[in-house]
């Protein structure tokens, strides 16, 4: 990953500190060392104060009953109580786990399939391809906003546009967003609607597939379907893998749309209680910061685990063209 350190010694600055040269190390390394850490200092400070220390602190808080409102003295060490409550005594926690898993595991494949399908349509240059690409990409910029979530909820409400559309076909709809069986579905649809970002990544990947492969396959009389299965998919597999990791992790972190749809409750009947929403309710509505910290660590471990699993399976289907197979 890092750049190579080997460089011709002639590029060494002519007036390096003598001490460094005596020790036989190129002077550049010493001066770079100071400069390097100076340039890195904002990031290092941020790593320490905004990331590392809070992470350790949240680990500590997860073993306490800290609640923000009272002062530090009233905070008590409760051992594994938060974790025990979470796993055995908080039904909403398991609802949140289930909701988040369903959301991520359904929305991600649908979104990637849509992204790949449209990317294939737009791959060959034609008049207006750029315009279509831009229009399909736009929803992924708007979709994460509160405004779009409001629009979505109203479109799928009892009197919303979706039901009016269904009524053309004589189907009577219902208030989809208030139905525990369908509320999450509308959120999944909103996530799939934002397929533009992975689509652009697929388009970039498709440009890298050598045309010669398709030409050779045509000479051999391969059908378009076989070309897709035997050339496009394997050649694109690193990009598919990349999108899969990214979108799965994004899927686990969904918050805004669920918050707006349920007015911050995760309802109806916990059906849109995303994990992050449950964490928010525990921490900022009920002031159980210790419990919320424990949830955060379980979340981190879960995401790490899922990512590891995806990476493991990736060995069996991701094809790197610089490899031997």
């Amino acid at each position: 990953m890092a750049t190579t350190t080997a460089r011709p010694s002639s590029t060494r600055p002519p007036a390096g500190p003598a001490a460094a040269q005596r020790r036989g190390r190129p002077a550049r390394h010493r001066t770079d060392g100071i400069a390097g850490y100076l340039f890195l200092s904002p990031w290092l400070l941020g790593l320490l104060t905004i990331t590392a220390i809070p992470m350790l602190m949240s680990l500590y808080l997860s073993f306490t009953n800290y609640d923000v409102l009272s002062d530090w003295e009233s905070m008590e060490w409760v051992g594994l109580d938060n974790y025990r409550t979470m796993f055995t005594d908080d039904p909403s926690f398991w609802h949140a786990v289930q909701t988040t898993l369903v959301f991520a595991l359904v929305a991600t494949p649908l979104k990637l399939a849509a992204a790949l399908g449209v990317a294939l349509l737009l791959n060959r240059p034609f008049k207006g391809a750029g315009l279509f690409r831009g229009l399909f990409y736009l929803p992924s910029l708007l979709g994460g906003s509160v405004a779009l979530a409001i629009v979505w909820v109203n479109m799928f409400n009892r009197d919303g546009a979706f039901n009016s559309f269904l009524s053309w076909f004589g189907i009577e709809g219902k208030a989809w967003v208030n139905d525990p069986d369908f509320a999450l579905g509308t959120l999944i649809l909103l996530a799939v609607w934002q397929f533009g970002a992975p689509m652009v990544i697929f388009l970039a990947g498709l440009k890298q597939v050598p045309v010669e492969l398709y030409e050779a396959a045509s000479v051999d009389g391969a059908s378009p379907w076989r070309k897709f299965i035997n050339i496009t998919l394997p050649m694109l597999s690193p990009v598919i893998f990349f999108n899969l990791v990214l979108e799965t992790i994004n899927g686990f972190q969904g918050f805004t749309s669920a918050f707006v749809l349920s007015n911050g409750t995760g309802g109806p009947v916990d059906s849109t209680l995303m994990y992050t929403l449950h964490l928010y309710i525990k921490g900022w509505n009920e002031y159980q910061m210790g419990y919320a910290s424990a949830m955060a660590w379980v979340f981190l471990l879960a995401i790490g685990l899922v990512t590891a699993v995806v990476f493991r399976t990736g060995r069996f289907w991701v094809h790197y063209s610089d490899g031997e197979d």
């Binding site: 949240s58 910029l141 378009p224 918050f255």
Partner: protein, 296 residues
């Protein structure tokens, strides 16, 4: 529910044929399909704009997008429906966005220069850690971060939103800039070095001007992400005076239950206008940015 997804995914199999032998019919079919898909995709946005101009009783009557009458009062009513005029929240959001952009540009470019061009001990380790933090969910650190910032008395200020950006916590952009700087010819900074320039000068006068495209990509993504960001703004801004656009818009849902849908949609449109403008101006950088680094 899968209706849209099926419609989107269905053309996959036909694609190769269509592009391989572009007969006129295939081309027409492909264009028709794309136009239909575009209409489906843009329908929610169009519906929002049309609804923002409709009288209340018309919004939910038909799914059509041609309004019978225009009601521009929705905008003036929506603008003044909360405790402050909506412009107040737009300004708050603009302040946060501006602070975040400046923070990201300065701190991320400095870190990126160090990672891409300087040799120092521990660089590989720090670089690996930096890559690791890209995937770190904010939820893991938000609780103690909130505790810390509230001890500082920073709740209901913009500092908890801006200060982390001044400290390059958006590692995405560090990575994006590292990749960009690595693509610049080293001869340029070697030449400047031989002329006696130190690292601060090489950074400012050689590297920064050359990495303008990467800076533009960072600016525009920071703009859109910060403008849309809801979670941290919801947590840190509880005083209506300090509300940014997403938090204000959310409180609007409570305030106007079944009273004035039109004005709620009107403010939704207003809240998305800056994103739309950023998209128009910066589409090139957005597309390039996600294509090269895969960021969203």
């Amino acid at each position: 529910m899968t209706d849209l997804a099926e419609r989107v995914a269905a053309p996959t199999a036909k694609v190769d044929q269509a592009v391989r032998t572009p007969g006129p019919w295939r081309s027409i079919a492909k264009h028709t399909g794309l136009i239909l898909l575009t209409l489906v995709m843009l329908y929610p946005v169009i519906w929002m704009v049309v609804s923002s101009l409709r009288p209340n009783e018309e919004i939910f009557r038909s799914p059509g997008v041609i309004p019978d009458s225009f009601r521009f009062e929705n905008y003036s009513e929506g603008w003044n429906a909360l405790s402050s005029p909506f412009g107040h929240y737009l300004i708050n959001s603009a302040i946060v966005v501006l602070g975040c952009i400046i923070g990201n540009l300065v701190s991320c470019s400095m870190a990126a220069y160090a990672f891409a061009r300087l040799e120092f001990r521990g660089k590989k380790l720090w670089f690996a850690i930096m890559l690791g933090t890209i995937m770190l969910p904010i939820h893991v650190i938000i609780v103690p971060q909130y505790v810390m910032f509230s001890q500082f008395g920073w709740v209901n200020t913009f500092l908890p939103l801006i200060v982390p950006k001044l400290l390059a916590t958006d590692a995405f952009f560090v990575f994006l800039m590292v990749q960009f700087i690595r693509g610049l010819p080293r001869e340029l900074d070697e030449a400047a070095r031989i002329d006696g320039a130190g690292h601060p000068r090489i950074f400012r006068q050689v590297i920064l001007p050359l990495m303008l495209p990467a800076l533009a990509t960072t600016t525009i993504f920071t703009f859109i992400w910060t403008w849309n960001d809801f979670f941290s703004q919801l947590i840190y801004l509880t005083d209506p005076e300090m509300y940014t656009v997403p938090v204000a818009l959310r409180s609007y849902v409570d305030a106007t239950v079944s009273t004035s849908w039109g004005s709620m949609f009107a403010m939704s449109v207003v809240s998305l206008l800056p994103i739309f403008l950023a998209f128009l101006v910066g589409q090139r950088f957005l597309i390039k940015g996600i294509a090269t680094t895969g960021i969203k």
